[in-house]
């Protein structure tokens, strides 16, 4: 256990130094969410709303920062490791690549939490948002489930990146469609019914609905536990899939030689 913890701390430290504290992450975590929130507020005002809907503007910007943080940094890690000739070294070490990916993805998502905190800060400062009357424990649980959902998706997607040199484009392509299905850009209810059905398997959607029910009280608290359960179940499903897929990836990359960039 101590060895695992020591490995995790070292991996987190390396991750923060080589990937997180750089200009790209700054743009991803701060600038992009700010632009999203500003556009959201302008559109909301243009639609005649005196008070913009927080979840699709300010909080949505924060979630976008976390989503992009998970998607881009987690997948970028493998791309750049492949390009720099490090991926082979990681795979040929006694530590399973899966374990490395677990800690990296956790670090990326935990770092991107700053986007959400900034968004909530902006909501308080600009819109007079307050935590008064909120159950803070339930709020923290919803945020925890949001992190867990993103983490499970992150480790699942990382497998695709390890699988093939070309799969990076697939992940780029998935960014917006999945973001729509999460329900932070548009309400899920405005999507076509078949898309709403697809969004059932997206764990982030449920975690966001749980967060919504606590932060903005737009849904009944009775539904909170349903959202939490759905988020946990669907996220865990992605994690189990990632464990199964990871075994396939381990064999596949040793057969195809896709670990190197050339």
């Amino acid at each position: 256990m101590r060895d695992t913890l020591r490995f995790a701390l070292r991996q987190i430290s390396v991750q923060l130094q080589i990937r997180t504290f750089n200009l790209y992450s700054l743009l991803l975590f701060f600038i992009q969410p700010a632009i999203f929130s500003a556009v959201g507020m302008i559109l909301s005002r243009a639609a005649g709303n005196a008070k913009p809907d927080l979840i699709y503007t300010v909080i949505g910007g924060g979630i976008l920062g976390m989503w992009s943080g998970m998607l881009f940094t987690s997948t970028y890690d493998i791309r750049s490791d492949r390009r720099d000739g490090i991926l082979e070294l990681l795979v040929a070490s006694p530590t399973p690549l899966r374990r490395i990916e677990y800690v990296r993805t956790f670090t990326n998502i935990a770092a991107s939490l700053v986007s959400l905190l900034m968004a909530i800060g902006a909501a308080i400062a600009i819109f007079g948002f307050t935590f008064a009357g909120m159950n803070i424990l339930l709020l923290l649980l919803a945020v925890g489930l949001l992190l867990y959902s993103l983490w499970c998706l992150g480790v699942f997607l990382a497998n695709f990146l390890a699988w093939s040199r070309l799969s990076g484009s697939l992940v780029d392509f998935l960014e917006l469609p999945i973001a729509f299905l999460c329900g932070f850009m548009y309400p899920i209810r405005v999507l076509p019914e078949w898309l709403q059905w697809i969004s059932v398997v997206v764990p982030v959607r449920w975690a966001l609905q749980a967060l919504d029910s606590i932060l903005l009280k737009t849904t009944k608290l009775d539904n909170y536990w349903f959202f939490i359960s759905m988020s946990f179940i669907t996220a865990t499903l992605f994690w189990l899939l990632s464990v199964w897929f990871n075994r396939k990836v381990d064999d596949h990359i040793r057969i195809t030689g896709e670990l190197s960039s050339i």
Binding site: D3, R6, F7, R10, Q11, V14, Q17, I18, D84, G85, I86, E88, L89, L90, V91, A92, S93, P94, T95, I100, D251, R254, I255, T256, G257, L259
Partner: protein, 327 residues
């Protein structure tokens, strides 16, 4: 027990092209490669670019799975006991890739120490030792992005040795390093052998292989075309001496007239540089050739003359040439 055992190892890469009508193209990178390396032996794999050296090393280091054949490292099966093998081997690939450039030399080693599950007490002691061994202790806290390619190559070696592996794979370790750095690295490799480590070294520098290796496998087109000690390999080809002659371009015809009558007694290779014509005369009887050349030497037609024994390079060129003709 052999340290390394490869039995008819084969690796075929399949490329798929096209979306609707996929075309598969198979490339045989390694074909039926077999050899054994004893514990404590320094074994060389020599071959031109694309011969299959690196693919062979990647199979032996568990990075690639052989398409056919089998192999073992210290008795552990390559296909099934990968974790056991990974704990016991160290490896470096040529070039300066494979390090986190934004981390310092020490931080890179600390990270890999964790990946190899080294105890903190051990790695605290081992990391400065390894940096000292490769001459980078004074640069331990400098970012790798400030290192020359030679320094990065040395840091790779330190990384590969961090967990004190029993078997070491060095894939073209001196590529891109200046002559002084390459000589120092060769001394380190020699010291590793003396300390009892098994080393498999791939290179396309003949002198390096001849200088370091107990036995050498020469590979071409994915196949082992010769495997023996350097001395035995030299004996394989016709024992000949090499007379190297340099003349100015305008005197080339004089030399050609001189050596034409000696046609059956020697084999000639020639190349032209900007101002000079170089001839390599391979002969089992150098004395008679030198006698024939003596008048031109006196007339100062010949600018440079050197007689030498065949080197590993000559052996390599002869064997590779033979295998090309067979192919």
């Amino acid at each position: 027990m052999n340290a390394i055992e490869a039995t008819t190892l084969k690796k075929v890469f399949v490329n798929r092209r096209g979306f609707w009508q996929q075309k598969r193209k198979s490339t045989v990178a390694v074909e039926n490669v077999s050899f054994q390396v004893d514990q404590g032996e320094l074994f060389g794999v020599l071959g031109p670019n694309g011969a299959g050296k690196t693919t062979t090393v990647k199979m032996l280091t568990t990075i690639l799975l052989p398409t056919c054949g089998s192999g073992s490292i210290l008795g552990f099966d390559l296909a099934k006991q990968t974790v056991e093998i990974r704990k016991r081997i160290g490896f470096t690939f040529g070039g300066s890739r494979g390090l986190y450039s934004r981390l310092t030399a020490k931080e890179n080693l600390q990270y890999f120490a964790e990946l190899y599950a080294l105890k903190p007490d051990y790695s605290r002691k081992r990391i400065p030792e390894m940096l000292e061994m490769v001459g980078l202790l004074s640069r331990a806290d400098d970012r790798v992005e400030t290192f020359s390619s030679g320094m990065q190559q040395r840091l790779h070696l330190a990384r590969a040795l961090l967990h004190d592996p029993e078997v070491l794979f060095l894939d073209e370790p001196t590529v891109g390093i200046d002559p002084v750095g390459a000589r120092e690295l060769r001394q380190t490799i020699r010291a590793l052998k003396q300390s009892g480590k098994t080393v498999l070294l791939t290179t396309h520098y003949m002198a390096e292989a001849e200088d370091l290796c107990d036995r050498i496998a020469i590979v071409n087109h994915g196949k082992v075309i010769a495997l023996d000690t350097p001395t035995a390999l030299r004996k394989r080809i016709r024992p000949e001496s090499v007379i190297e002659i340099t003349v100015s371009l305008d005197k080339a015809s004089t030399i050609e007239q001189l050596i034409k009558p000696l046609d059956g007694k020697l084999r000639v290779e020639s190349r032209v540089t900007e101002n000079e014509h170089h001839y390599s005369l391979y002969t089992p009887a150098p004395e008679s050739i030198l006698e024939a050349l003596a008048p031109s030497l006196q007339a100062k037609v010949i600018q440079g003359l050197q007689v030498r024994n065949q080197t590993m390079e000559d052996v390599y060129i002869a064997l590779i040439g033979e295998s090309e003709r067979d192919a």
